[in-house]
Subunit: 200 residues, 2 copies
DNA sequence: CCAGTACTAGAATATTTCTCTAGAAACTTG
DNA sequence: CAAGTTTCTAGAGAAATATTCTAGTACTGG
């Protein structure tokens, strides 16, 4: 399952890259084993050798894309000190990720209800957990000092990510009324207004 | 395409109901023509007679679910007068719709990137347009008087719907950390904070 | 009651899907 | 260099897919 020779690592990488390209160009319906093997030039057997199943490859790709997104958020966030600048940084970073890496963002969003997630929940959670932890440990002190509202656990995240994810989702789906630049100008301050705590 | 005999209308209804049930119980992957004909007890020929293609049926179901959701929002919204109560009403109504009609909500969310949408954009937009118009015409006066912030067009909607849609999405996907009751208690006021305008 | 239209039925078709197997080639280690 | 493991190729196979087609049944308007 995990490559033990450099050569294998390389072909696994190629398969993931090809899979992302296929999903981007042909959509979720055209996302098939054969399409991935054709555009990667790598045989069916190799794919099954490395990932066990097609769902296994999809799950691995999902974990990688999600990790890239979270890393982008973390990188922006950990340059900040105050609650307000942190919130604004995350919002802008998410929108920028969608704009600069639309294929990855589209794959993440399109896979929310995909069939491969339930089977590989554990592996995906393992990739997400440490990154989520870093984000939460940034937020915790600000919630305790009252600079950010102290809400039940996932709700703060919903308020922060919700508007941005919805904006990105529609833009990625081709909605022509969405302007990402405009969104990164307007949304940060408004989202901050929904998160600011009693302690100014 | 549109039924001209009462008998036809009835089987079209049964097909849509069966389609929703199949999608709910077997997920997007198990959402197939054969599954729909089996569980509805209605023949392949009838399905194609009424909807032209399987994508046609999916698009019709999507339009109907979306209409139901928007109608629920409108019904709650138009009982209100002030900007604040209106915003809160929409938030609560969306969460209640997800809880009471999870199958419809799940179908809507799961279809965001589905292949059938692009082909039937026009028909779906026709079902949505008048309802969206009613929602916007509620918001317009409040934006003009400054009780709600006057932002570029889709952004107000993103701030209002974003956190709620994300919360519903995760709950529908089986996230056990989401508590809808808690969300309808906390989110309305916070979302209002992000939307309130300069004119108090 | 007759003609024409709406509707229903179900088999047949042509593609396309994922998965598996068996063995050859390449690399690593002792 | 030799043994053992990893990686890769190629192709076969079984199951499932959306759609088309032909034929038959119910309804409706005149």
């Amino acid at each position: 399952m995990s490559p033990k020779q450099p050569r294998g690592e390389e072909t696994a990488r190629r398969l993931l890259a090809a899979a992302l390209e296929v999903h981007e160009h042909k959509g979720p319906e055209g996302f098939t084993v054969q399409a991935v093997t054709s555009t990667s030039g790598i045989s069916l057997g190799s794919l099954y050798h490395h990932f066990g199943s097609f769902d296994g490859l999809a799950a691995a790709l999902y974990a990688r894309c999600m990790a890239d997104l979270l890393d982008a958020l973390i990188a922006s966030l950990e340059r900040t000190r105050t609650a307000r600048t942190g919130v604004r940084a995350v919002v802008v970073a998410y929108l920028r990720f969608a704009e600069e890496q639309p294929a990855k963002a589209r794959f993440i969003h399109a896979s929310s209800y995909a069939g491969f997630l339930p089977a590989h929940t554990a592996a995906i959670a393992a990739a997400k957990a440490p990154r989520i932890e870093r984000l939460q440990s940034w937020a915790r002190p600000h919630a305790e000092t009252g600079h950010i509202v102290d809400l039940p656990d996932p709700l703060t995240e919903m308020l922060l990510i919700g508007p941005v994810a919805e904006t990105a989702r529609r833009w990625l789906a081709g909605d022509p009324t969405i302007d990402l630049k405009q969104a990164s100008r307007v949304l940060p301050e408004r989202i901050w207004q929904s998160l600011r705590g009693p302690q100014e």
